[in-house]
Amino acid sequence: MIELTNVQKRFGQRLAVDDLTLRVPAGEIYGMLGHNGAGKSTAIGMMLGQVWPTHGEVKVCGYDVTARRRQALQQVGAIFETPAFYDYLSGRRNLEILSTYTAPTASRRILEVLDWVGLSGRADSKVRTYSHGMRSRLALAQALLPEPVLLILDEPSDGLDPEGIHEMRQTILRLHRELQLTILLSSHFLHEVEQLCTRITVLNQGRMVFEGTLAATKQRQKWVRLRVGDFPGAVQLLRQAQLISGERDGAFIALGDGIGTDRIVRHLVGQGMPLYEIAAQDETLEQFYLRLMDTNRAT
């Protein structure tokens, strides 16, 4: 659905995106992570034809965005952080205006979408009277008007209260489930990405440092929580037996290749080490992300 091939974007001397190659397959909820200034918004800008790449090719829905922007964006919806509207006009009028930049849209379709996002009761109120949550729903409505197959969400939960964030998350899942949309989600909320996405990419200083399924982030390093009488002593014993590859926080060990928890238990008990608890601990996306960033900072 989205293909970026060796894309580079330079703003003067600053390299915003460097040699980015990315594939977003149809039907996925694809997460894009990275620190502020990592190049996420620039990459999204290039996907939407708002920013022209210095080098490389950007294809959306099979069309080159630079050469055939109209065809590429015909069935693409987008939402940006802090959605902006013409506050002095009604929600319905805003949708009428924004929809015509893609194609003239029937009033019936506008009503249908307003109903879908739960704003039909306030369609004729001025946008300045809308709450932040309602604005987010209006943003979603404008993105849905061109009957998109691809939805690009750039920090959609930014500025929302916990209830709003939950509502947005449910809406994204509903969009994916009911309308079978492919969704590209750029977010700072790692917990949100973890709950929604099937695949992620991580950018760091304009370069991709990870790309893969969410499951792959958990498989990269399996941590086991270990509660023993003497943790440093246990670690020493396990290291001598080459059963672990690492330890952290005075409570977790990383198992060596092909080593199961049963062997850890047998070895510690055999060495007379009191063992109270052992439990596999999946790495959260946040831990994975922070570790990835640390590794990249170190290199």
Binding site: L48, G49, Q50, R69, R70, Q71, A72, L73, Q74, V76, A78, F80, T82, P83, A84, F85, Y86, Y88, L89, R93, E96, I97, L98, T100, Y101, T102, A103, P104, Q142, P146, I152
Partner: protein, 228 residues
């Protein structure tokens, strides 16, 4: 599609309260001018000027003459200010507010978008000029009779003319076309600056500064030889 895009821009432009506040300001200024003309020595000076040149003042102190008197200062002062405000806002304000990003996420070309915005601005200038012209004539007619027209200019040289009511009205209507052109140029200047990466106010100030420098340079004798 082009019609829809133009309609969008007009909705946006005429949906703002500020648009009408501007019209209101002009209305107030016009009436202030009218009252000043009637209640100060201004009317007497015009009468003396007419009679000094051998014309009967009562034949030319008319709605048409006063409408022109009301319009001239507005064209020189308020019109550039207001059209450059609108011109500076059209692109720069949308970029500042973030709505431009929403639009540019859609498959519309930048050229089309800017062209319809410019065209909406020119339409606005025409509406503004026509409304001002009509308002000036209507208000002047409340106080003065429908007779011949007297017009005079002090720059680049002191000239005047007297016309019959019919011919005066015809020229008054023609002048609206030139004033629309004039307003569109000022608007276009601010619009152009607003397309660069700057705040709306900066675009307006740049356009007005350009006009001011141009006015100053026009009056420097050194440049007279280049006016030909």
């Amino acid at each position: 599609m082009f019609y829809h895009h133009l309609r969008n821009e007009l909705w946006k432009l005429f949906g703002k309260k500020r648009t009408y506040i501007g019209f209101g300001a002009f209305l107030l200024a016009q009436n202030a001018m009218l009252l000043a003309f009637r209640l100060t020595q201004w009317q007497n000076r015009v009468e003396r000027m007419l009679e000094g040149n051998g014309y009967a003042a009562q034949d030319y102190l008319s709605a048409l003459t006063v409408a022109v008197v009301m319009l001239v200062p507005q064209i020189l002062l308020l019109m550039p200010l207001y059209t450059s405000l609108v011109g500076g806002d059209l692109v720069a304000k949308e970029a500042e507010d973030g709505t431009m990003r929403m639009i540019l996420a859609r498959p519309i070309s930048r050229f089309r978008l800017l062209f319809v915005k410019w065209l909406a601005g020119v339409t606005f200038c025409a509406v503004l000029v026509l409304a001002l012209g009509a308002m000036a004539l209507v208000f002047a007619r409340f106080w003065f009779p429908w007779r011949g027209m007297f017009v005079f200019s002090v720059w680049p040289e002191r000239i005047f003319n007297v016309l019959s009511a019919g011919r005066g009205l015809k020229l008054y209507l023609y002048s609206q076309i030139f004033m629309t052109l004039n307003a569109s140029v000022v608007f276009g200047l601010a619009f152009m600056f607003g397309c660069f990466n700057m705040k709306p106010a900066a675009a307006t100030i740049l356009a007005l500064s350009f006009l001011f420098i141009n006015l100053v340079m026009e009056h420097i004798p050194f440049f007279e030889q280049y006016q030909e």
